[in-house]
């Protein structure tokens, strides 16, 4: 009975916290800041990927069986921007923002 009661109480607290988390003020600026950061990352990825691939376009000699332009122009930026995506998500988390 006690365990059941505690579980119910914990579920109740969780529900209240979820409600608080879902009931933010109307300020759009934190979300807008994130949107601007996402847009900047997109611009940087566009320039890096298309720029490098075009610049290395004639270099098709293989690196581990992958044409050089694809290894340097697509896969390397993919890994770099994957790292930046992780940073983007973790930074938002450490900012403790709630909706």
């Amino acid at each position: 009975m006690k365990i059941g009661g505690l579980t119910k109480a914990a579920a109740g607290v969780q529900a209240v916290m979820d409600d608080m988390d879902r009931s933010p003020g109307p300020d759009s600026r934190p979300a807008r800041r994130e949107a601007v950061e996402a847009a900047l990352l997109w611009c940087a990825a566009l320039i890096a990927t298309v720029g490098l691939s075009t610049w290395l376009g004639g270099r098709v000699e293989p690196i581990l069986g992958v044409p050089r332009w694809a290894a340097v122009g697509v896969f390397a930026p993919w890994l770099v921007f994957f790292g930046l995506h992780l940073w983007f998500c973790r930074r938002r988390e450490s900012a403790g923002s709630k909706p």
Binding site: P26, R29, A45, V50, P62
Partner: protein, 492 residues
């Protein structure tokens, strides 16, 4: 038709049974509350794993699993550059609108994408216009998915085309109507896992069969050196096209109403962040592998009965028959998850945006249920009928529902949620400018518009110009309305 073992049919049967089991379990988890809130956004209780996986499963369609490998089979490594916009799809998909839409969904009680726009501008006409657009364009996209799915069944198992269409309509329609958003999200999650496993297994077995990456390189080089270049054979991907697709993938995904609806269902912002992390990892594994399957398929099965058979033919050639059924379920999973999500959005447009919000007085639970279920049946039947006899112009509607929808709604949505100065005139002018400019460019120039860029790029610019011009010409929304959406200091 390619040779298939009975284990393939068995695996398909198990896969469908598991999908129904998940839909049943999801239905049992339904929370108490309004029917439409549970049916359309899962009671806003969806956690990070399910949110992330349903988002990616909705995004990855028959085009991803059938069309993209077919392009890679025909054009080699250049398709890796063509798809490279997916590098930032998780970042833009969640970063541009995710948090704000989740906030507004819980503040305003919006259940659908048109709900959001309608409430932001207190305009019935904006709600109705966007509801009709959702209905028509999502239904046409479902038609394309029925066609893709039926063709895979036809190629792999010899199921007659009409029966294939009927099977998709019945199977997906049943579990969508039975469990609503929660069932769709749970089955999407299962399907996303099947998709990833299927593609990774195919790539692994294919690589083993060909003899490694260097052997793939040598095989392509022997067939045509152009298969190794970023431009591809017959100048498949010139620079403007490469730039265009870096706009198309990240921004069309971010602006797709079926994906925006996912944010209305999430539990809180921590859920969003974790889902975004998950999606970043998933995309990194899935998309290069999908393209790679097409590339190595060119070496493994150089001659295909039809271009669209690249993926199933490579699976059947590379994967042991005992596993082929599981792996062949991957493209089916991609198609089914997209159909179910779009079916839900299209039926939601009828039940919520065109019916409930335009009827005077409250709508009973029983009536809301009846209208929603009836909407799913009607949309499924109409899409099935079109899939049996696809009209000549269907491909144009599909292109429009893929990228044109985002060209029409992305900029108005961004400005509506972030700019207090945006008003209903600006929204309508932006929507019309995006829609009309996209349509006219396609009619006049096809996929290469001014400066050889895709019409999507220019439509975004036209839509933005329309939003700003319309807002400057129109009357600012009343402060009492704006205070629901913006802090007081933002309104000074």
């Amino acid at each position: 038709m390619y040779e298939t073992a009975s284990s393939v049919r068995l695996a398909f049967g198990v896969y469908i049974a598991l999908t129904f089991l998940l839909a049943y379990m999801a239905r049992r988890q339904a929370v108490r509350g309004g029917f439409l809130q549970e049916f359309l956004v899962g009671g806003r209780t969806i956690g990070p794993w399910v949110l992330g996986l349903t988002w990616i499963a909705t995004s990855a369609s028959g085009g991803t699993f059938i069309g993209a490998p077919a392009l890679a089979h025909a054009n080699g490594w250049s398709v890796m550059l063509w798809i490279s916009g997916y590098i930032v799809v998780a970042t833009t998909g969640f970063g541009l609108l995710g948090r704000r839409i989740a906030e507004l969904g819980s503040r305003t009680g919006a259940l659908t994408f048109p709900d959001l726009l309608r409430d932001r501008f207190a305009s019935k006409s904006i709600g109705a216009v966007s509801g009709v657009a959702m209905l028509v364009l999502h239904t046409s996209f479902i038609v394309a998915q029925y066609i893709a799915g039926a063709r895979v069944l036809e190629a792999v198992m010899g199921v007659p085309y009409a029966w294939g269409v009927l099977s998709f309509a019945v199977v997906v329609g049943l579990y969508t109507a039975y469990g609503g958003f929660r069932a769709v999200a749970w089955t999407d999650s299962f399907q996303a896992v099947v998709m990833l496993i299927g593609v990774l297994l195919t790539a692994g077995f294919g690589l083993y069969k060909v003899g490694g990456l260097q052997a793939v390189y040598d095989g392509l080089s022997a067939q045509s050196p152009e298969l190794l270049t970023p431009l591809g054979p017959d100048k498949f991907l010139p620079l403007p096209a490469a730039i265009s697709f870096f706009f198309v993938w990240p921004l069309a995904t971010a602006g797709g109403p079926a994906l925006i609806t996912r944010f209305l269902a999430c539990r809180n912002t921590a859920t969003l962040r974790r889902a975004a992390l998950l999606i970043g990892c998933y995309i990194l594994l899935l998309y290069p592998a999908v393209i790679f399957v097409g590339i190595l398929g060119r070496v493994l099965v150089p001659e295909l009965a039809a271009g669209d058979h690249a993926m199933p033919a490579t699976i059947l050639a590379a994967v042991p028959s005992t596993l082929a059924g599981l792996v062949l379920a991957a493209p089916m999973a991609a198609i089914m998850s997209t159909i179910s999500s779009y079916l839900l959005v299209a039926s939601g447009a009828i039940a919520r945006d065109l019916y409930q919000r335009n009827v005077r007085g409250p709508v009973s639970e029983g009536r809301a249920k009846a209208v929603t279920h009836l909407s799913i049946v009607v949309v499924g039947l109409v899409a099935g009928a079109f899939a049996l006899r696809p009209p000549d112009y269907l491909q144009y509607i599909v292109i429009f529902s893929g990228t044109g929808l985002a060209a029409t709604f992305l900029i108005p949505t961004l400005l509506a949620v972030y700019w207090p100065g945006m008003n209903r005139t600006g929204c309508l002018v932006g929507v019309v400018a995006g829609f009309v400019s996209f349509l006219l460019q396609y009619a006049a120039y096809g996929t290469r518009s001014f400066l050889e860029l895709d019409p999507f790029v220019w439509s975004l610019a036209m839509s933005a110009a329309g939003c700003v011009a319309g807002s400057l010409m129109g009357v600012r929304e009343p402060r009492v309305l704006l205070e629901k959406y913006f802090a007081p200091e933002e309104l000074e």
